[in-house]
Symmetry: C2
Subunit: 455 residues, 2 copies
């Protein structure tokens, strides 16, 4: 594996010496994926210098590996003629992505400079919502008719795939009006007798996507069927394009990011996930505030609960200092349960029908871990405060608290799922607060009943 | 999309009527991926009934979509002869996975029943660590020599790919000793003149994996270069097999699960990730206890800090009830920062060189959100307790607490990364505890300095 920082150092040395030819040669030697890693680390002006030295082919390849922001940045800073040439070399879906991320008038300027057929097709892609199959698909697909022979198809591929820069995984069979009839894998094509008809070797029972299917449905279908590509049709079953594994790979990474963000209460509903980490700071604040606000409300309930036990704290101030301990551990083990259930529901390892089993299992785990930790806390508190009653109450509160945290943490995702609310969205911060409130009630009740009477 | 529960209901009705032919026909109509979803929901004995009714081809296809546990369960419960036939139909890597999950003597029994060549190859796969390229790869690869013509290769594929059930993405070019020389994509092959030599169209600068590369490296390479398949070589550059996208897809899902587990303090180092959700309860406890234990130590520090301010609490019990509020919100916003940085470092959107920028950015976000929440808390507390001094102190503590939480949450992942510790492993629970401790010090100091003097 290449060491990026070493490479960057060497490139900077060459740039300082202003030996353009050497820099050009050096850059040409990298795989585009490696170049993308290098560009990520360069300063914007260095990046531009290097980008200008790439030939058009390589620049177009690089586009597919870098972030949308960097694509727009680099293309915006070079000569528009060259930028148009680079765009024309991209697959249609990639070109549409770049153009879609530009300012509207800039998009129009570029579209006017592109070859007519290409710009028409890109324009059509831009009309789809970018999160749907229509916005993700590549509209250029190799199609054949069902009465062609295998040899016809092989000859056709030879001309067509080369000229149109086609991605080849499957060959789609359509009728004259472009209705999707079937699919033939390249493997099947290459291993069938050359005089066989396509209709005799095609599969007609096809897994397909619709132009307005959303990205989470698309990733689910790919994950489930594990195909390399799926065809995209419109309402009338006319073939509009195809989506390949590398498109889905990006979607998959985005979805994972959203899942992880949501688990810590970062909302990806109103603000695009890209914006939160690097975009406008106000957008980041908008994405992060909603769940914090709900936590605030929940914690005010906790404060209110504690307030009810004011007299207890006044009578026995020492009990107050154990509040963070109970809240911290209850919150942690509850979060573990939520995480396991939310992830399990998302991968399909956990299903609603197994809810009862999982709640019991987690409760048992909570009880075992809670008992161990309860005993530890009892002993430490006893040794430290020389007050065994206090130790026992804190220990019992800990055991109950941790057990309840696992039950709440397991139950809530199932409850949300069964009323069709995404458990990933609502679980984390809300449950942590619930556990805080319940934990305080348990603890102060125990203290009031046992300690205040004992003393 | 198919509605699984409706399907299950229908199947159960047919099973009750004991009309085997109808059940058989019904089952044959499903795609194997759908069958896998259905099997997931059936009871074990229903599953077995249905499995026995599948023909061998379909049963082998189904194997590739179900979990290892279910594979072993189903194969173990049917006739060994039939089980062997199903195994022989699987790709070598899938067969090795199933056999590797069985008891050792069972594995041997099956290996003895399989065709000699097949069992030899599977035996070799079983010698590799299952988390390395050797354990993941499929050893059956289509290879050609560099002096063959395109037409030769096409003819060769026609015979070879059909017979050996080969996956076709790329064709690997090797010398007589099976050293890897180059790669030709199917697309290139199909679009090149038939009399061209393979060596003239092959790419020699190949991205390849080694048999002992670990799964996280493999997923990184696939993510970076976005190929559909990568060749696997040994120390001497001899081609041993290839890994395809669908293998990596499973690895990728496993890695995501690990990343998500670790973020909530579930350790995947000692216990296999599969075991935590469904396996032995003691393993689940082993995976979950370590970080809880560290939280326990951290929270005892927090308790100790609070203990130092005993006199403050005794003098002014009301201040104690705000502890959960401060800890809860500090913890939440800090967790958001950690999540953003850990995920960003994992996808490459955030790099060490941008650490300073991100720390400043997060600090600013923490300050803005902290100020808003601080003001809210001040006003609510004032209105509720009619004590503006208390409100101001709690509000200021909230602002400082949330700002510090973002700084700690941003700084720690970078610090861990820079000393080559995986930030995902160590961040979550430790930082939550740190924020608790720091938050309490800030709060009680403010209370002691301002409130105890004011009163």
């Amino acid at each position: 594996m290449m060491n990026v920082s070493n490479v960057i150092e060497r490139l900077r040395e060459i740039m300082e010496d202003e030996t353009t030819d050497q820099l050009k040669e050096e850059l040409a030697g990298f795989h585009s994926a490696d170049l993308a890693d290098i560009f990520q680390e360069l300063k914007p002006e260095e990046r531009l210098t290097c980008f200008k030295l790439l030939d058009i082919e390589k620049a177009a390849e690089l586009m597919e590996y870098i972030s949308p922001q960097m694509q727009v940045e680099l293309l915006g800073d070079i000569d528009q003629e060259i930028a148009s040439k680079i765009l024309t070399r991209l697959p249609h879906d990639a070109a549409a992505d770049v153009l879609g991320d530009m300012e509207e008038d800039e998009t129009e300027t570029y579209l006017d400079k592109l070859p007519h057929k290409f710009s028409e097709e890109v324009r059509e892609l831009l009309t789809y919502n970018e999160d749907t199959a229509g916005g993700i698909m590549n509209p250029v697909v190799l199609t054949v008719n069902s009465d062609m022979s295998v040899q016809d198809v092989l000859n056709y591929i030879r001309i067509k795939a080369e000229r149109d820069n086609l991605e080849l995984y499957y060959i789609y069979v359509v009728d004259k009006q472009n209705h999707l009839l079937g699919v033939v894998s390249l493997r099947k094509l290459l291993t069938s007798p050359v005089n066989k008809k396509v209709e005799d070797i095609m599969i007609s029972d096809i897994v397909k996507l619709h132009v307005d299917d959303y990205s989470d449905y698309i990733t689910d279908e790919f994950m489930k069927y594990q195909y390399n590509a799926l065809p995209v049709v419109d309402l009338y079953n006319r073939l509009k394009g195809m989506i390949t594994w590398d498109d889905v790979h990006d979607l998959f990474e985005e979805e994972t990011t959203e899942e992880i963000y949501q688990s810590s209460g970062i909302s990806t509903e109103v603000v695009d996930e890209d914006e939160i980490l690097t975009g406008n700071i106000l957008n980041a604040i908008r994405a992060r505030t909603p769940w914090l606000f709900i936590t605030l409300l929940g914690e005010f309930i906790a404060v209110n609960v504690a307030h009810h036990f004011d007299h207890t704290i006044a009578a026995l101030p020492i009990v107050a200092i154990f509040m963070p301990l109970l809240a911290g551990l209850g919150g942690n083990i509850g979060t573990q349960s939520i995480t396991l259930m939310v992830r399990g529901l998302s991968t399909g390892q956990v299903t609603l029908s197994s809810a009862f089993h999982h709640i019991l299992r987690e409760m048992l785990i909570g009880l075992v871990i809670g008992s161990i930790f309860g005993m530890l806390v009892t002993m430490v508190t006893w040794g430290w405060q020389h007050n065994i009653e206090l130790g026992i109450v804190v220990g019992i509160a800990m055991t109950i608290n941790m057990t309840m945290a696992t039950i709440i943490g397991t139950f809530t995702p199932f409850a949300l799922k069964s009323i069709n609310v995404d458990p990933a969205v609502a679980s984390g911060p809300v449950i942590a607060t619930t556990i805080d409130v319940v934990g305080l009630v348990v603890y102060f009740t125990l203290v009031s009943v046992f300690l205040l009477k004992v003393l």
